[in-house]
């Protein structure tokens, strides 16, 4: 990219023989740029949603059912509300719920995974049984059940999404802790008289931090999609809030009238957001994983 890295490239090229001279950026730089672009997109949506006035999504009968145009990129609905503004605000709500839910899920997974791996066979059996219990019910059915028993609405959805995304990450963290715990340097450390707490914080935790952050970001897309799905089914946020699920379920009544833009753009935006999180998560994993960090 700059002079230095080019010099480095030349240097390595000289040593290895056929380095990646034709590539201007190495993989690490590309990964960082991809992460940067995706993050910027997400942050921009969050900020934009705060800055946009509520006036554009107020009922305005002079601008009903307009097809997409420069003034209304995503068109307007049957109440004259600007769909672009509604979509951005909806995405912002989705991102917030996703962030909250995946944070809770990751913490649950971390605690349970650590416990399963370190607190003996009985605890391990109990936790893996609990994981099986949660994984045995179709995710969406579990979400419906939890959302309903917690009284529906935003509260029900958030609790539902937060409480159902930890099982697979728990398994990953459990396996990771098991592996580190039985490795030689930890055994030596124990024989040298280090306490359990010392080993847990100095040896095991540093290995879990990448799992923690990557897990957080990779749970995100699932959380957002499930939030949208359950809202679409009618359990979630109130019909007045501009959530993507609400927008799409409302649009169903107007599809037959040919108002394709009501469903097309909001759904596409959601897809792009989910994909952005996937890209960040995958690239971050490549960066943080010691096996692939230097490729």
């Amino acid at each position: 990219m700059n002079g230095l890295s080019k010099a480095e490239n030349n240097l390595f090229g000289g040593i290895i023989g056929s380095g990646s001279l034709h590539l201007q950026l190495n993989r690490r730089q590309k990964t960082l740029i991809v992460i940067g672009i995706s993050s910027t997109l997400l942050i921009a949506i969050m900020i934009a949603a705060q800055l946009m006035s509520n006036q554009a999504i107020a009922t305005n009968f002079s601008q009903q059912n307009l097809a997409p145009s420069w003034a209304h990129p995503f068109g307007t609905d049957w109440l004259g509300r600007d769909m672009f503004t509604r979509t951005i605000k909806g995405l912002s709500i989705s991102i917030q719920i996703g962030l909250l839910a995946s944070s809770v899920s990751v913490v649950i997974a971390l605690v349970l995974g650590m416990c399963a791996a370190t607190m003996g066979k009985k605890v391990d059996a109990a936790i893996s049984w609990l994981v099986d219990l949660f994984m045995g019910v179709p995710h969406l059915v579990a979400l419906v059940l939890i959302a309903v028993v917690f009284g529906g609405g935003a509260k029900g959805v958030i609790i539902g999404v937060a409480l159902t995304h930890w099982p697979s990450l728990t398994r990953v963290i459990r396996a990771e802790v098991m592996q580190v715990r039985t490795s030689q340097y930890v055994q030596i450390s124990r024989h040298l008289g280090r306490s359990r707490l010392w080993i847990a914080t100095k040896h095991i935790l540093p290995h879990l931090l990448p799992q923690f952050f990557v897990g957080l970001i990779l749970i995100f897309p699932h959380a957002i999609l499930h939030e949208a799905a359950i809202t679409f089914l009618g359990f979630g946020l109130s019909p007045h809030s501009p959530a993507i699920g609400v927008i799409l379920s409302e649009s169903m009544g107007y599809l037959a009238a040919g108002m394709w833009w009501l469903a097309f753009f909001p759904g596409l935006s959601l897809l792009i957001i989910v994909r952005a999180f996937d890209v960040i998560g995958d690239n971050l994993r490549t960066l943080l994983d010691p096996h692939s960090a230097h490729e």
Binding site: G136, P138, G151, A229, L233, L255, W260, V274, D278
Partner: protein, 328 residues
């Protein structure tokens, strides 16, 4: 002998999980704000007096302590009596039976299609690693994995039903026809779009997984040896790759029952297909507790059955797993 033991152990675990699921869901529902009497009465709220409500509650045993209620309910379930649905006004088991049949048709078609196409796509991508077609398939799968199922359903509905007019807009049967008089071809006609939606979404996982497995196999020593012997192209994959990649694919496909069920809930909602998914949504929205609990249990059995079949197929087909277990 060993396989039987294995299946027995798995089944025992399933039963313990089902019992736990009963307890957990019962506690959840008991502590929820749902008032079963109110859910039952529904719109007639004003015409039912306080005494009548108490009589209904007493009739259902709602005045008894929760533990007793649980054992009454669980005892009935063991006998196959799930209670009666409040919104459909018939036994839960009948509602589930009828609707599950419709959903199974939908899920079955989608499951087979996505399995076959996903597997083929995975092989094609794996054989052409790094080429345009590989990148295209990968991009397609990753994008689909990020696509909301119900949105895809809406798009298909807009293109094929509204735009082209090939398919009806929703409803599992034609309007104005008694359900007994619906012919098989009409049922199939109404099945195509929802099944297509589920199949399109379903290929992503299996294709990516198969691709990765094939890459692993192609990087192995025995494939290198085969290549040195002059084998190449599809013949190589057919002889050395297919067995190794088909087992994980089968396991994965059977393990996908959970997502399949979730997907069918969404697809049924979009296309107004009268299956179990739609009943789930109705039961949840209108507080039909017996039906909701019945569906939770049945869907858990469904998911477990999928996993078990996958395990059994693997243990029967794969000699390594068979030997591995008998040596333990």
């Amino acid at each position: 002998m060993n396989s039987a033991k294995y299946v027995f152990g798995k089944t025992l675990r399933m039963i313990s999980l089902l019992i736990a699921l009963c307890i957990v869901s019962f506690i959840l529902v008991k502590n929820s704000p749902i008032d079963p009497v109110q859910a039952y009465i529904g719109a007639d709220m004003m015409r039912v007096s306080e005494e009548q409500r108490e009589q209904i509650a007493e009739n259902w045993g709602l005045d008894k302590p929760p533990v007793e209620q649980f054992f009454n309910w669980a005892g009935a379930i063991v006998k196959g009596d799930f209670g009666s649905s409040m919104i459909y006004r018939e036994p839960v088991i009948d509602v589930i039976g009828k609707r599950f049949a419709a959903s199974l048709a939908l899920m079955g078609v989608a499951w087979v299609l996505s399995g076959i196409f996903g597997f083929i796509m995975g092989i094609v991508a794996g054989m052409n690693q790094g080429k345009l077609i590989d990148r295209a398939i990968k991009w397609y799968c990753l994008t689909l994995a990020a696509t909301p199922t119900f949105w895809l359903g809406l798009i298909l509905l807009m293109i094929f039903s509204v735009g082209l007019g090939w398919f009806p807009i929703g409803l599992g049967v034609p309007v104005g026809v008694l359900s007994e008089n619906v012919t098989l071809s009409e049922k199939l006609y109404h099945l195509i779009l929802p099944a297509l939606t589920l199949s399109i979404v379903g290929v992503a996982n299996i294709a990516l997984h198969t691709r990765q497995k094939l890459l692993d196999v192609l990087a192995s020593d025995y494939v290198l040896f085969a290549r040195a012997n002059g084998e190449s192209g599809f013949g190589l994959v057919w002889k050395h790759g297919l067995r190794n990649i088909s087992l994980p694919a089968v396991t994965l496909q059977f393990a996908s029952f959970s997502e399949l069920f979730g997907g069918s809930v969404l697809a049924e909602q979009v296309f107004s297909y009268p299956g179990l998914g739609q009943a789930t949504v109705q039961a949840g929205l209108r507080g039909d507790v017996p039906l909701l609990l019945g569906i939770v249990l049945i869907s858990a059995v469904f998911v477990f059955t999928g996993n078990l079949i996958g395990d059994i197929i693997c243990s029967v087909v794969d000699p390594r797993i068979k030997e591995g277990r008998s040596s333990v």
